[in-house]
């Protein structure tokens, strides 16, 4: 813990131009990731989790306005000249995207696209060496018959295979940070597990730090050391995985946990959070979650709480203390019944 | 490594040498071929290259260059001069003509031009019943007296026969060569002759040039006839190249890509103010006219001679020349070109709107007369028929006559002319040879003539004027001044018909590069290519 963190995000903001002035999609988030560790960023779609990551990698459309700070190995990424950040992207930071079909260029072979990732950062490598590396990479993500697969087009791959290829491409230059944006969402459940296993194994083997973005707490459950829960463009709760799962005190996180299918409670009816996340164009005053929150008080609709340590996690909720108290006392049962 | 690179160098060197070789060969080649080419820009209207079938302005130029008639028209556009016939005589009443051929004359294949060739050519011209066959109308017998003498007998006095055989369509063909190409001269020729296509690729004349290549509406390429018995032409090669319109021709002349441009209109010619180009504006023998069709379905009983006369007063003849050719033209009285026999004393019509109005009122036609004008949508001799007819429309509107214009393609026009649906029309005429008789035959309102059946349609009596046939016959029996007087009389009759109303004899713009010499306009032959040279 004494060394500088791999990635340190402070007050990162991202806004897009809208018809009536800029609209903030990410409203000041703080995150930290140590080398070799996995940080889970969890939230529904529209919570700003993907935008935040794309913002720090400068992958948002040019019209986006990004401010704050994101230090990668001590280097500031926000505002870094494009030429410089290009040296980092694909080299030191690899990315995996949600839908591997649309994320691959349909008119180029998988091999060519991985080859490109290599050559962009190693201009001197000979074609033969680069090709060999592509094959090695495909083999390392357990793609059978890599020498045949290498010349195929993305649409000739199955979803899982495509995601493996995507991982191979992200790892092409042995990055120290991997940003995985919903890597399993588009896949079947059984394939999901395989991909997650693969990611976990590769990250561990190579000592790669990983930001795992997902809407599904179950995905990060066995993987992340730390978890940040995002809602409405902010981090609403952060803590270690264990603390989030067992000692959360944010109503939203509780909702997410309740919505998790659990094998041991397979018969139990899934609980989902009522309502929809706020649109970034029409953000409520006060706490963003207030309109959907059963515990919301008039105060919640007036003031937007900031992140503060409560119990074992950091929470942005006015009633966090009450919830902590509740979870430890008789109120717990009420929560468990789904009164939330 | 070394070997490879040295091999490459050698290869490159060899390549360079090859390139140099080619270049020098090219230069050498062009030195040998340093024969000058004359380029003429024209919108070609070729209908055939077979002398007995051809009938067009470009044909006149081509046939004059490649074939030779017995007689030709001198540079004064009046005097007949010897060509293949070194001399000729005729009997007193112009029914027998004897031609003595130049014994030196040879065809382009070297064979001599003989009397039998003349007989065969004339018979073919007559029997083919093509457009120029009328030149042989009335020929009773054509016989070879000996190898170099031909005698033609006609069934009625014809003082114009000599003029007719100066037309380029009467150019003499090499009988053997033509027959080898499928040409026939006997009675069956009209249906059995199959040489039309062959003539598009071969020429069998005795003229100063021979045909090299003809690509329709692209180029007509001639080269010097090496066996020519006369004075060799200055240019070894002549190309007539297709150029659609006046502006393109003017631009080509300005840039020097053509030496002569033949269809530049007077307005465009004004913009050609470079010292490299010479433009000469001379009167032509062409004219443009409009015609009343009193026999048409709609005009029957309306276009009486009186109404026709009245309407001729409505026309702004001076304005017409201004509008159609920018003033570069002449008025013309009867449908006989100015300068042809009998035209000297004819007075052109003049505008008199008041008279027109009063005459129309007299005839009860001062309002409500509506006419449909059908005419070819063409631009000829610098006159855009559309412009001309629009002017006529405006002039007629002044006297309360409404004209609807219907420009059509030429074939449609021909059909409409035969169908009696047009009340007015406009066309043009260029002489086929020097002589006023062709006009009498074509425009005369005599039984069965082209114009009687057109203008009269099913009521020929509305236009018939049998006097004209008699005068024409008298003219053909006479010659010189006497004939001219008859043609003048005929001209007055044609004017009194008020059917064919000539409007403009457009001037000809002879435009050529300044270094070109010998460009002239011939009444029979258009542009005699053999006389042209480069300074």
């Amino acid at each position: 813990m004494s060394a500088a963190p791999l990635l340190e995000i402070r007050d990162l903001r991202a806004a897009f131009p809208g018809p009536h002035g800029p609209v903030e999609a990410v409203r000041g988030i703080d995150l930290m990731l140590d080398a070799g560790e996995v940080l889970g960023v969890v939230g529904e779609s529209g919570s700003g989790k993907s935008v935040a990551m794309m913002a720090l990698l400068q992958l948002l459309p040019p019209s986006a306005i990004v401010s704050g700070s994101a230090r990668f190995k001590g280097r500031e990424l926000v505002g870094m000249p494009r030429g410089e950040i290009r040296q980092i992207l694909g080299q030191e930071i690899g990315c995996i995207f949600q839908d591997p079909l649309s994320a691959f260029n349909p008119v180029l072979t998988i091999g060519d696209q991985i080859l490109e990732a290599i050559r962009l950062h190693d201009r001197k490598i000979s074609t033969q060496d680069a090709k060999r590396r592509v094959l090695d990479l495909l083999a390392s993500v357990s793609i059978p018959q890599p020498d045949r697969r290498v010349d195929q087009y993305p649409h000739e791959f199955s979803g899982g295979m495509r995601q493996r290829a995507m991982i191979a491409m992200a790892l092409a230059n042995n990055p120290s940070l991997l940003i995985a944006d919903e890597p399993t969402t588009a896949l079947d459940v059984t394939v999901q597990a395989q991909i997650l296993d693969l990611l976990r194994q590769l990250a561990a083997e190579r000592g790669i730090g990983m930001v795992l973005i997902t809407h599904d707490l179950g995905v990060v459950a066995g993987m992340a050391r730390d978890i940040a829960v995002m809602y409405g463009g902010r981090v609403v709760e952060t803590g270690t995985a264990d603390d989030i799962f067992y000692d959360t005190c944010h109503p939203y996180t509780r909702g997410l946990i309740a919505a998790m299918p659990r094998l041991e409670k397979i018969t139990e009816k899934l609980v989902s959070i009522e309502g929809t996340p706020p649109s970034i164009f029409d953000r409520p005053a006060g706490c963003s979650f207030a309109p959907r929150c059963k515990l919301a008080l008039p105060d919640c609709r007036a003031t937007d709480p900031s992140l503060r340590p409560v119990h074992r996690t950091s929470v942005a909720c006015l009633r966090a203390e009450e919830i902590v108290a509740g979870t430890q006392g008789a109120v717990r049962a009420e929560f468990e019944k789904g009164a939330l | 490594m070394n070997t490879t690179s040295s091999f490459k160098t050698t290869a490159r060197r060899r390549g360079t040498a090859l390139l140099f070789g080619t270049t020098s060969a090219l230069m050498f080649g062009s030195a040998v071929a340093a024969q000058d080419t004359l380029v003429v820009g024209r919108s070609m209207d070729v209908n055939s290259l077979d002398p007995s079938r051809a009938f067009c302005d470009t044909c006149q130029i081509y046939l004059t260059a490649v074939y030779e008639p017995l007689i030709t028209l001198g540079a004064d556009n009046k005097t007949l001069e010897p060509k293949l016939a070194a001399s000729w005589e005729h009997n007193e009443n112009f029914t027998e003509f004897t031609f003595n051929l130049n014994p030196e004359a040879v065809f382009s294949d070297g064979s001599p031009v003989e009397a039998s060739d003349v007989v065969w050519t004339f018979e073919r011209l007559r029997n083919l019943k093509g457009s120029p066959s009328f030149l042989m109308d009335g020929t009773q017998s054509i016989e070879a007296v000996d190898a170099h003498t031909v005698k033609v007998t006609v069934d009625a006095p014809n003082s114009e026969f000599l003029n007719k055989v100066s037309a380029p369509y009467t150019g003499i063909l090499n009988t053997e060569a033509a027959m080898a190409g499928g040409a026939l001269a006997d009675e069956t020729a009209a249906t059995a002759d199959g040489a039309e296509g062959w003539f598009l690729e071969n020429s069998v004349g005795s003229g100063p040039f021979v045909l090299v290549n003809y690509a329709p509406e692209d180029e007509l390429r001639l080269s010097r006839n090496d066996s020519y018995y006369g004075t060799a032409p200055a240019f070894a090669e002549v190309v007539i190249t297709q150029m659609q319109d006046s502006v393109i021709q003017a631009q080509a002349l300005e840039t020097g890509s053509v030496d002569i441009a033949m269809q530049i209109d007077a307005d465009t010619a004004k913009s050609l103010d470079t010292p490299d180009v010479v433009t000469e504006i001379i009167p032509s023998f062409n004219f443009v006219y409009f015609a009343f069709m009193p026999g048409s379905t709609a005009m029957k009983d309306k276009l009486t001679p009186q109404v026709r006369e009245a309407l001729t007063y409505a026309v702004d003849y001076d304005g017409m020349i201004e509008f159609t050719v920018g003033g570069n033209g002449n008025k013309i009285a009867a449908p006989i070109p100015n300068g042809f026999p009998g035209t000297q004393n004819l007075e052109p019509r003049a505008q008199d709107v008041e008279k027109a109005k009063s005459m129309l009122a007299e005839a009860g036609m001062d309002s409500g007369l509506e006419m449909v004008a059908v005419y070819p949508n063409d631009n000829v001799y610098g006159v855009d028929l559309n412009v001309m007819m629009q002017k006529l429309q405006q002039d007629f509107a002044q006297v309360g006559v409404e004209v609807t214009l219907k420009p059509v393609t030429y074939p449609v026009w021909r059909e409409e002319m035969a169908a009696g649906t047009a009340d007015l029309t406009a066309v043009y005429y260029a002489p086929d040879y020097y002589g006023s008789g062709q006009y009498a035959a074509y425009f005369g309102m005599t039984e069965g003539s082209t114009w009687v059946s057109r203008a009269g349609y099913q009521s020929p009596e509305t236009v018939l004027n049998e006097k004209e046939g008699e005068i024409y016959a008298q003219a053909l029996a006479a010659s010189g001044e006497e004939a001219a007087a008859k043609y003048e009389e005929l001209g007055r009759e044609l004017m009194a018909d008020n059917v064919i109303i000539p409007l403009v004899s457009p001037n000809l713009v002879l435009a050529h590069r300044a270094d070109i010499d010998g460009v002239r306009y011939s009444a029979c032959c258009n542009l005699p290519l053999a006389e042209i040279s480069r300074k």
């Binding site: 691959f104 962009l120 | 021909r414």
Partner: protein, 338 residues
């Protein structure tokens, strides 16, 4: 897709049959009298001659018989004899078609390269002055009547600036190269005649530019919009995430995908160019089938009209077919699923 293509190829003969029938019917129903092109004016009153001509040209037979004869001859490559040129229509077309094709191909090259360049730069510098100016220029080309803009260009470049020679495929003094392709530029190269090549090329340049200009707009607009479309795709983000520069993203990723829809308009562009060629040929004294068609239509030379429409339609059909095949070829997603 493969099946679709096969169906397309098999459909071509049937379409051609339809085309030929329509061409025949159209040309037979013309208003003008074909005899007027065949019988001399002074002979129209001579029934003997008129009959002979009718028999010679087969005009005396009833329409269905003529149709059968026409079709039979057509299959053997005989399109009849032109009233105008008095030569076999097939031969006229064979002589003139290469001129048109050379012009159209050159215009296509001009139009698509400039169109793509403009579309590419417009997409890259979207909403900049360049974007608007370039699109304006491109649009201008398809908004001016080509017979007028052609004259203006000829006046500027040939008469005033003297950058290009006058009209025609070559200087009138120059003999056309003997060649297999009929494309003077290609034939000159094959003959190793550099001077002739330059001459042919310089004659080709202006008409090709004028004609090509008319399709720059179509191509540029499509390239621009499909590029913008492609630039918003996920794979572009992937490429950026790999550290690819804007240029690499544009060329390697966006353009390749954007060109696929562009391929589909090439067939359409071809139709556009054929239309333009008819007028361009008239202005530039270009001896192709366009000017042939115009004079045929004007003089109701219906064997020629029929021949030209059939050949034009065939070329057009083939162009569309080639487009489809190229589309299939350029789009790997289609290859296997066929």
């Amino acid at each position: 897709m493969l099946r679709y293509l096969i169906r397309r190829v098999l459909g071509v003969p049937f379409l051609l049959l339809g085309v030929a029938s329509v061409a025949f019917i159209l040309s037979q129903s013309t208003k003008g009298d074909p005899l007027s092109a065949l019988v001399p004016e002074r002979m129209m009153n001579n029934p003997e001659i008129v009959q002979a001509v009718e028999a010679q040209w087969g005009l005396d037979k009833p329409l269905p018989v003529r149709y059968v004869v026409y079709m039979k001859n057509l299959v053997q490559g005989d399109m009849g004899t032109s009233f105008n040129t008095r030569r076999p229509v097939a031969r006229d077309i064979a002589e003139r078609l290469p001129a048109t094709l050379e012009l159209v191909v050159a215009a296509m090259i001009v139009g698509t390269t400039l169109g793509m360049a403009i579309g590419l730069l417009s997409a890259r510098f979207r909403h900049s002055i360049f974007d608007n100016a370039a699109r304006g220029f491109a649009l201008l080309g398809s908004s001016l009547p080509i017979f007028w803009s052609g004259l203006i260009m000829l006046y500027i470049f040939s008469v005033q600036l003297k950058w290009t020679p006058g009209t025609g495929r070559l200087d009138a003094r120059t003999q056309a190269p003997e060649g297999v392709t009929g494309f003077y530029t290609v034939d000159a190269l094959l003959a190793g005649n550099g001077g002739l090549f330059i001459e042919a090329l310089s004659h080709l340049a202006l008409p090709a530019l004028v004609l090509g200009w008319s399709v720059i707009g179509i191509v540029a607009r499509l390239v621009r919009s499909s590029l913008l479309d492609a630039l918003g795709q996920d794979y572009v983000r992937t490429a950026r995430a790999k550290g690819a520069s804007d240029r690499v993203v544009l060329i390697n990723h966006a353009l390749r995908n954007a060109l696929i829809p562009v391929l589909t308009v090439l067939g359409f562009t071809f139709a556009y160019l054929i239309t333009g060629a008819v007028l361009t040929e008239a202005i530039f004294s270009w001896p192709g089938i366009g000017s042939y068609a115009v004079s045929a239509a004007r003089s109701l030379d219906y064997p020629a009209i029929g021949g030209v429409t059939i050949v034009g339609a065939t070329a057009f059909l083939l162009a569309n077919l080639v487009t489809d095949i190229a589309y299939a070829w350029a789009n790997p997603r289609i290859k296997v699923s066929g």
